[in-house]
Every structure is written in C-alpha cells, then in structure tokens.
Assembly symmetry: C2
Homo-oligomer: 452 residues x 2
C-alpha cells in the first residue's frame, strides 16, 4: 500500500540548515548602506539584527549551519512536516503525473514561517535580548514570531499593516493569546509612522511602512532587535529545513521530483523548498525544473527589474539587489497578502537572473479556482499564497496529461487559509477582482527605484 | 529519544468501528416514538436516516462493524491522528504526571467530527441518495459534513444556527467552498422554521430548532436523509476510531493511561475517545478513571436529570433517555458552541448513571485560561470545547504534583480554535462572562421534559 503521507521520524529533523549561497556561482549581491551605498558591515547590521543572524546573513561560503538543539526541540512540536501524495487530486485531474506537496500549514501559525521564527527567537534570547520587533502583513509571520517568542521568553512587538489589523482581528487575537503586543501601522508610536499619518491621513498602511516602524522601534529601545520573516538570506537559510525534509522523504520512498513549484512573495517559502535540490543542480549532480509563482497584481519577477532598491517605504533599511517593481508600488487589493511585497529575495533574484529557475504569474480568480479544486480533492483549505503554487502544479499536471508524461511534481503547500475566508467569500460570491497593473502604473513605480 | 508525537502507520488505521454497547451491562435505553412512546423501529427510522446507520443505531450487540474500504481510504487523508506527549505543558506545570493528548484537529473541519461525517456520507452515497441535510451550531459538524459530501458526491444542506451564521461567516464560507448550501436557521424554508419565526420574531436560533428544520427538510425531499453529528449511538460508534488509535499508540510505546479526559457536549468526542478503554473496564480487563467535562453554563450531567426528553425544539425527533436539562433550556451566551446542547448521548448517560465515569463542570474563564496555558506551551490554539478537557487535565496534573504521583493522563484535543477567535478576543480583553444558571432557571427548563 502506498502511503498518502510520508513522515520522517523526529530523529530525522535536519541537524543543519543548508546555505544555498555556498553553491551559487554568482553570489547574491551584498546589502548596501542606504546613505553611503557601500556594502553593509557586521558593525552596521548588529544594532538592527541579532549577532548570529548577521553572521548568517553575511556568510556566502559556509555550506551548513548547525541547528541549535533548543530549536530542533521546538521543531519537534510541529516537525517533521508531512510530504503528502495528492492521490485524489491526481485522480480528479486524470493525470499520469504524480503530485506531492510538502505541507507546512499544520501548526497554529498556519504556515512555514514558524521555521525561521523559532531560530530567530532562539538567537535573540541567546544574545540576552529583552524582545524583538517585527511587522506583519497577512499575519502569518507575526503569529509565528509571537509563538516563538512565547516559547523562548521574549517580548514581541508586532506592527500590523492597518488594513489587516482591521480586517483580520482574529489573527491579531492569536498573537495576543501568545502574549504579543500588536500595533496598527502606521502608528503614532514611531516618527516614521507619525510622518506617514500626517502625509497620508487616510492610509491603510503597507508592509514597507510597517517594516520602517518596526526597525525604528527596535533600534530606539534597549535590549531590542528587529526580525524579518522573508527576503533576507538568513531567512532562506532557516527555511531550508523544508527542502531538506522533502528531499529526505523522497529518498525514503525512492522517488525524485522532476518539477518543484512554490509561491513566492519575499521568497522564503520557495527558497527554502528548493534549496537542497537547487544545490544539487548547481553542483551538477542532478537536474530539476524550478518554478516560482507570483500574482499578476504584484509581479516582481515577471515585470520587475533586477536592481538595488529599498526594502521599506521609510527607506531606513539597507538597499538590496533584487527583482523589484519599486518600493513606491502600492499593491492593489489582493488577498494573497503574503505575496504583496514589491521586491524579492536577493538569492532567488540572482538564480532567476542566472536562468536557474522559471517564474509564472497568475490572476487571483485562477488561483482561487485552484484552491477550490485542491480543497475539495485533498481536504485541506489552502492559503491564498500557497494556492498560486497549486495553480501551477495543476497546470503542469494537465500538461503531463496532454503529453502522456508520468512526471513527479512537488509543490510547497506553505500554509492554510483559515484566516483568509473573507477572500474565499468574495470568490464564492463571484465578486473577486483580478488585478493586473498597467504598464504606466508599473513604470511609475519602477521610477521610484534609486540609481545606485 | 522520546517522541513528541506517536504516529501509527496508515496500515494501522482501525479496520473496524468498536461498538461499546456490546460490552455494557445495562444497554442504553431505546429511542421512543414521540407520539406513541413505543421504541422506534427500523421502519420508522429509515425515512429519516440511511439504512445502514439505522442498523448501527439499533444494534446493541455486534461488537465490531467493519469500516468500509472507501471510508478508510478517506481517513488516510487525515488519519491516523497523532497522539502527542505534552512535554512542554508538563514542564511548565512542574508535574510528575505524563500528559498525552490525542489531536483530532489537524484537518480542515478542525475537529474529530470528520470521522463520523465520512462514514455517514459514504453510507448515504452507497444507498443511492442524492443528498443529506443537517444542522450545525459552532460549525465544526457542518464543515465536516460538507467536506465528506464533497468527497463522496452528495448534496449537502446545512441549517446553521442564526447567531453562528452571522457571527461566524468564515465557517459558512468554508462550507460553501466545499459546495454545501448553508441556510440561516430558523428559516422560511421549513414549516417549523416559519412557525418559530412567527412566534419569536427576533430569535437568533438554537441547535434544537436547526435540528427540527433539517429533519423536516430531509423527510420532505426525494432522495434525502438527515445526518446528525453527535448524541446518537451510530456517531459514538464511528468516533471509536479516536480511542482505538489512542490505545494502539499507547501499546506501541508500552504505556497505559490512568486517567482519560474529554469534553462532552452531545458526547461524540468523549464517547469515541473512551470507547475501547471503557470496554476493557466493563469486561474487567483493566481499570481507568474516566472524566467527562462540561461547561457550567449547560450542565446536562452535573445538574440535569436522567429521563426521556426531546432532542429538538420542534419535537419532531424521537425521544432519547439521557441526562438533560430540558429541551426548553436556552443556552446562555457561551462561546464553547459545541457544548451547548441540553441533552447528552444515551450511552454516556447510562455509563454515568452506572457510576462508570465521573463528570466535572467548569466556568468559561477557567477554561480559556487553560486554553491560553496550553496554546503557549504546546503551540496549538485549542477549540473552546476541547479546552474544557485541557482544564481538567491540568487540574489532575497539578493534583499529581501535590501528591507526587507519576500518573499518565490522556485527554482528547478534539479540535482547534481558529474559528473561535471572537471568544479569545473577549478573554484577552477581560470581558468574557462566566455563566451559571440559577436553580430557578434550571427547574423551569427541566419542567419542559415530557412525562414518559
């Protein structure tokens, strides 16, 4: 009997994070000081980030970082996560392809974000810090960080994008249950928040603005540092546990994926899932097709440029070289909250620029249709973000059906949609809007990218 | 290394439901025809329920019913569910007791309800039916039934208690995503609904009323039957998979629970969890302490009477002999929605009357405090219903601490609280109300119990 779910044992939780940068021919470009345009040094970064995280951020060479025992112990409450064979989806599609998904949503944060949150909270505690600040958009990252801070005994201040704070009160209450302080952003608690409130009185906030507030709050308080849930190299490093477990599970059943698919907002889910497979490819040991999936409403890869840009609206963060549509881009109403960031992981950006991976963009209605198909077949209500990967996986499986090919498809089911039912309601009612920015709109946003 | 989660393999999913009634000295009393007060016959029940379910309902003797292969196949998408050692909770409480919980919330219905929903949908489909009707209060059962109907290809009509329909639009949208038709109850679609709307124009509905509407809708439509998510013998039969898996997992690690705890609304979760252990006890093969936990706001066991009573407000359903506080009882605002039913499973009622199990009642604020402690220790946000069991488990663990006893405690974590954040918000804000009905209030409700 073939199993639906392939579980590793708790002993098989990875012992080391895998640093994909060590195997990249072209390393991701360094972060630059926004004032001097010189590469950020450890000294410049440590007032903002924990020391060990800065070391991880800057290290392009060390292939493996040992996962601290305390973090592995925490992982054992929700890892190893299952690799699942989507038998019913295959049957419903009538495809000869084998479809697998790595399910990261079976924890209360509802997504893969907890993998990095645990590591970041541990390092902060180990450094003797009192607390951390962060931002959250859709709410997954803020929830994950709240949970990790509760476990490791840290204070947690979350700046939550105002529109989410108001539309997702339930996310806020989960964070509060885990003891976090949640502030609607922009707020009166920071100078950048006050400045934005004065300039745009009716603003509903943005991720870029919440980042600016969280960074300001961290550097202005004793014993605090800032933590970020995606984009950064350190985050992709931690998320490599997704790919490492997936690879080990495939080896256990003597199978190998041909196509690996993940949604990509800041890049932590996709970067983590593909890491060890991409490493094999870069070392010439194996070949895979990698497909990143983004929304047409925020097309960083498919319509952006590869350039140094600001990560935040307040322009207090370092510049990152990435695919970007400009920090001035105001994401349209798009319920795949986690994919609304204007930029992209520098690691993934470099890999895409090097031709090592493909990217496709989908409209929201096609994505929710895929979510509906998947939910009904596999009994899991997926997050809107993850549903982008589902859409691409379904389309690849249908291509296999046309071609009669028995390919093995792996996609990342990065989270569940239990807090995104407002969007499902719109889809169910037929009132969901697709959105594709016009060329003029994108050009205007791209024009906000600084010349470096 | 001791594991946090003890998983059985998919091959170890039970092959048979266990019928606890076969081992009961005093069998649960039969359902009575509300008109004649004679035991309901198969002929009287089959217009309402599927035939195989009627057979299961009436059979007090057959010890095992084979689980159909199609149902086992469906179970493989979310079963076996993990038995989890609550290491962090033990540590935080400083107890020498070992605490385990059987986690039934790791599926999109968010609770154990899917176990019975799958079986009921399968039997309905096998009988060639077109669809089923049911009611839902908190929403777990309606979601589970929607999911199971989607899988087996049945229409699903859910009467959702008006207050939940309005306060839990997200639950409604999950059901709609699975293709169910969801109607706010009381509604204009049934005569009992119209009667109640006329009599109580501002009513926010009740479970008893929604049951009446769903039964009426089922019997008045071609190819439809009614399905119920708790109370009935057939439902406890299906839920025995919880206990069977728990027992098998304990045997795997060479451990044995001393105390088994579950929350109890209609009784399906508690009845399923304890079934095989209670069977051993009744057969004199082993001894366990069993503790049912109910809310003080709806104290069927602790302040009710053991008598024949109506299951629904419209009095269209058979009479059941059970612990009840009267079908006229209007549950107070109580967010543990699934525990608001005035009656109790006839099987559990008989066992309690025979002194085979204990019952305790807790106030809502104590319950949410336990939920908070558990969520922070174990990383899972529990359902308010399940948090009743957590409260009792914590209190038993603290008693072990005082007494220095290393007991093994098992409790049922029947579901997650992702759709109950409104209640957590009240708890977090300190505005949650405890509720204990006065003696006069209870006496008035108990006076609505018919003389049989």
């Amino acid at each position: 009997m073939e199993n639906y779910r392939i579980y590793l044992t708790e002993e098989e939780i990875p012992t080391h994070f895998y640093n994909l940068r060590a195997d990249m021919k072209t390393k991701p470009a360094p972060l630059l000081n926004p004032g001097t345009h010189q590469p950020m040094t450890k000294e410049e970064l440590t007032p903002v980030f924990c020391e060990e995280l800065v070391d991880q951020e800057l290290d392009n060479d060390t292939r493996f970082f040992e996962i601290p025992e305390e973090v592995r112990e925490y992982y054992r409450m929700f890892r190893p996560s299952p690799l699942v064979r989507a038998f019913n989806l295959e049957k419903n599609l009538g495809t000869p392809a084998k479809i697998y998904f790595k399910f990261e949503g079976n924890n209360t944060s509802g997504s893969h974000k907890l993998n990095s949150a645990a590591a970041q909270a541990y390092y902060a505690k180990k450094q003797g810090l009192k607390g951390v600040t962060t931002e959250t958009g859709a709410g997954q990252w803020g929830t994950a960080m709240s949970m990790a801070c509760s476990h490791f005994g840290l204070e947690c201040d979350v700046y939550m994008v105002k529109v989410s704070y108001e539309q997702k009160p339930f996310r806020r209450e989960v964070m509060r249950t885990y003891g976090a302080r949640v502030t609607s952003s922009p707020s009166e608690t920071t100078s950048v928040g006050r400045m934005l409130l004065e300039k745009y009185p009716g603003t509903t906030g943005s991720l870029g603005c919440a980042i600016s507030e969280a960074v300001e709050a961290a550097v202005s308080r004793e014993g605090y540092r800032y933590v970020l849930g995606s984009v950064l190299n350190q985050v992709l490093l931690h998320q490599s546990v997704i790919g490492l477990e997936s690879k080990a599970a495939f080896e256990k059943i003597g199978e190998k994926p041909d196509i690996i698919i993940g949604c990509t907002g800041g890049g932590s889910n996709l970067g983590g899932l593909i890491a060890p497979f991409m490493g094999e490819k870069l070392r010439g040991e194996a070949d895979y097709r990698f497909i990143g999936v983004e929304p047409t409403s925020c097309p960083s890869f498919t319509r952006g440029v590869f350039a140094y840009d600001f990560c935040d609206t307040g322009k207090v963060c370092p510049l990152a070289k990435m695919y970007t549509i400009g920090s001035g881009y105001i994401p349209a109403p798009n319920h795949a909250g986690g994919l609304r960031f204007h930029g992209m992981s520098p690691i993934l950006s470099q890999l895409y620029d090097d031709g090592e991976m493909e990217v496709v963009a989908y409209r929201q209605n096609e994505v929710f249709k895929a979510a509906e198909i998947f939910a009904n077949a596999e009994g899991i209500l997926p997050a809107p973000e993850s549903s982008h990967a589902i859409r691409a996986a379904i389309d690849e499986a249908l291509r296999c059906k046309e071609a009669g090919e028995e390919k093995v498809i792996l996609f990342g089911l990065s989270g569940t949609g239990y807090f995104d039912l407002k969007a499902f309601e719109q889809y169910n009612n037929g009132t969901m809007q697709d959105y594709v920015p016009s060329d003029e709109e994108l050009q205007a946003a791209i024009a906000t990218i600084p010349a470096v």
